[in-house]
């Protein structure tokens, strides 16, 4: 399982508190599993047709920005071992 921290608005949409846990060892697998477990999240992190990450959404883990890495690459070992969470972050923007 992978521990996932969602931003405030997506936690509300998914009706969850705190971290969620889903199967998945890559960014794409985690997003797939999140969208299956919480259909309301479909389209909020990536385009539902093209799969392209939404431009104001970023992915982090272990102090690394995984947003631009290949989404089929394995997540860091600490994430796979559940020592660290995978973070979905809404970019800071606006006033």
């Amino acid at each position: 399982m992978t521990r996932v921290v969602l931003p405030y608005h997506l936690r509300n949409l998914a009706k969850v508190d705190g971290e969620v846990r889903v199967e998945g060892g890559t960014v794409a697998e985690v997003l797939d599993a999140l969208e299956v477990a919480h259909p309301a999240l479909r389209g909020t992190m990536r385009d539902p047709v093209t799969g392209k990450r939404r431009s104001f959404v970023r992915f982090f883990a272990c102090q690394e920005d995984l947003s631009h890495a290949g989404h089929d690459e394995p997540l860091p070992a600490e994430v796979l071992e559940e020592k660290e969470p995978f973070l979905v972050v809404g970019a800071m923007a606006g006033g």
């Binding site: 931003p7 608005h9 389209g43 909020t44 104001f56 809404g90």
Partner: protein, 371 residues
């Protein structure tokens, strides 16, 4: 007991305001979807407790929420607004071709006869329809594919289909307005569309015969007289008596004929309301006075309505979907401002009072008249 429910969309959530027919004492519920932009909420005329809400942000995109209990609780429904064909390009602000991209839903128009059918006007401009209560949406592609699309261009708020009027008895006839393309009409349920912009004259479009390109801000009609349309254009308040085939100017006498919303009285087809705004550069009322103007003659002979509205130091705007009327015996008029006030006049505009004063900037106001 008769009453009203006012659905308010704001920059930071939705609010539901309810009152009995006196419209003096209000219950305020919300925010729903706090922190999200709610461009529009509208209830089904067939089943008023069934309401659709357009929820979006630049971060997480578009969602559609549906309530079955008058706005107390909500559930997400379908949100896939994929164009039916390769959408091609429209004009960008500088006149260069720009790819058509879905951004958000600006307006819902529920069917007058079927609780599961709703039309949605979206940005970049297109018309969508659901026949399963919002679970799935399909583009009514005849509008975008009219052929003039490559010449459409965005207004300041984006290239949006923001207004939909359904004919009260002919389900095949729909009116749509797009900024900045103009007004369109279908007489065959959406298969084909006719630009209805003859008589419109717009600064920046030197050709008085231009078929498209006009920045129509809002349209309205009274259901008892569906061939008569009123239009608030970027500049100019216009009227048509032939279902949009031709238009003439009825804005003379207003302090400014720039503005966004336009509405018709609940029972009087010749009583029209606008909110003049100083100019397209300033976007606030003339002289710092918030005045609704009413014509009882179908345009022209405009009178300012000021009792209860701020008459000094007021620099808010009233957006295109932020005005509505109820259909109680004495028709009420409502509007919301970018300063977060929602005003109600229970007597057709003679007197006004603020229902709330400090909401986030108001994007839309829709009123439901409850039996």
């Amino acid at each position: 007991m008769a009453g009203v429910r006012v659905l308010v969309g704001t920059r930071k959530g939705a609010f539901v305001l309810t009152s009995d027919e006196g419209r003096r004492n209000w219950d305020v519920a919300g925010p729903h979807f706090g922190g999200w932009e709610l461009y529009h909420l509208k209830g089904s005329p067939v089943d008023p407790d069934r309401i659709w809400a357009s929820q979006s942000t630049g971060w997480f995109g578009q969602l559609v929420q549906r309530s079955e209990d008058g706005g107390r609780t909500w559930s997400p429904v379908g949100k896939d607004f994929s164009y039916a064909s390769v959408p091609g390009t429209h004009q960008w602000y500088d006149g260069t071709p720009h790819p058509w991209e879905f951004a958000r839903v600006w307006h819902f128009e529920p069917s007058l006869t079927d609780r599961d059918t709703v039309y949605a006007g979206v940005e970049d401009a297109a018309l969508f329809k659901t026949t399963d209560g919002g679970e799935s949406w399909h583009e009514v592609a005849g509008l975008r594919e009219h052929g003039s699309g490559p010449h459409w261009q965005p207004g300041a708020g984006g290239m949006c289909l923001h207004t939909l009027l359904l004919h009260p008895t002919d389900e095949q006839r729909i009116f749509a307005a797009i900024s900045a393309a103009g007004a369109f009409r279908t007489d065959d349920g959406g298969a084909t569309w006719l630009p209805i912009n003859k008589g419109l004259q717009s600064e920046g479009i030197p050709d008085p015969e231009a078929e498209v390109g006009h920045c129509v801000h809002n349209l309205t009609m009274h259901p008892d007289r569906p061939d008569t349309l009123f239009m608030q254009k970027h500049w100019d308040v216009m009227r048509s008596d032939d279902a949009g085939a031709s238009w003439y100017d009825v804005g003379e006498g207003l302090p400014s004929d720039f503005g966004f919303p336009i509405e018709v009285h609940g029972h009087e087809p010749d009583t029209v309301y606008v909110v003049p705004i100083l100019s397209d550069s300033e976007h606030y009322p003339p002289d710092g006075k918030l005045r609704v103007y009413r014509s009882r003659t179908g345009g022209g002979d405009w009178e300012p309505l000021t009792k209860g509205l701020p008459q000094e130091h007021c620099y808010v705007n009233v957006l295109r979907d932020a005005m509505s009327v109820d259909r109680l015996d004495e028709s009420g008029v409502y509007f919301g401002t970018t300063g977060g006030q929602v005003y109600c006049s229970p007597d057709g505009g003679d007197t006004w009072d603020a229902i709330v004063r400090d909401l986030p900037a108001v994007l839309s106001v829709e009123v439901q008249t409850l039996a």
